[in-house]
């Protein structure tokens, strides 16, 4: 018996919905290890800022390099397991890192933050913005992670400014780790 137009339309809709859902869940699966890694880096970095402020700059330098290297390896492994080819991945990843760092450095140069809490809050808000924007297109869990991070950052700045770095280590880093685990379970 020939298929009706309604049945054909429903089948095509099912295919589109399933592909969309598969893509979203794949994004969660691939993003989760990055969130967990950077959550751990935030715990260490912001923790050092609070406990040993004099060591903050060299510590962040080492941690950022470690984080970028870790993210690069995680991403390359994911690309490699998918298609076996990693051509161009390293260059794109380096470009992404340099663009983010250049944007944050340029903002610091123009806005001239005066307090350590301002220096600490801005990268966190930037990351929150990125996750929220990803969430608009690529799945609500990203948006929830971004909003949670943004709210935690602003709340810490408003109510716990004296211990903002400690707040960001525990709450900011913790939010990244918890949302990373949440994405992995999706």
């Amino acid at each position: 018996m020939p298929m009706s137009t309604q049945e054909a339309a429903n089948a095509l809709q099912d295919i589109a919905r399933t592909q969309q859902r598969a893509s979203v869940l794949r994004g969660y699966e691939r993003g989760a290890p990055h969130l967990i890694l950077w959550g751990l880096i935030w715990v260490l970095g912001y923790g050092i800022c609070d406990l040993a402020p004099a060591m903050a700059n060299p510590a962040w330098l080492v941690l950022d390099v470690a984080g970028m290297t870790g993210s690069f390896l995680i991403g390359r492994a994911a690309v490699s397991s998918k298609s076996g080819a990693t051509t161009g991945y390293g260059l794109r990843f380096a470009a992404l890192g340099i663009t983010a760092l250049a944007f944050i450095a340029a903002t610091y140069y123009i806005m001239q933050p005066q307090e350590s809490a301002q220096f600490g809050a801005y990268p966190a808000l930037f990351v929150a913005l990125i996750y929220s924007v990803i969430g608009i297109w690529r799945g609500s869990r990203w948006a929830i992670a971004g909003i949670a991070l943004g709210v935690c950052t602003v709340a810490g700045y408003a109510f716990f400014k004296e211990h903002f770095m400690l707040w960001m280590a525990v709450v900011g880093g913790g939010t990244l780790i918890v949302t990373g685990l949440w994405l992995r379970r999706a």
Partner: protein
Amino acid sequence: MPGEANELIHQPLRLKIMAALNGLSPREAVEFTRLKSVVGATDGNLGAHLSTLEQAGYVKIEKDFVGKKPRTRVTMTSGGRKALAQHVAYLREILESVPATAG
């Protein structure tokens, strides 16, 4: 006049399985648990439909161990991709064969 439906693929859950696998790159595999989450099926139901698709040569199922934990991974064969593409073309033909009504 449209061709014929692929009745094996057209079953709702099998259509979802094929759609989910088709989004992967040719050598990419998806784990059984992930696929179950994507298509919203139970273990038994998904296993049964995957067997049907495997017998038709549309998917390949690999079982191994990660440490002591068993793992089942599914990939779509080139024959599976071709069959899905033909079925989708058939579905589109049906929609396109409907004369447009004047607005």
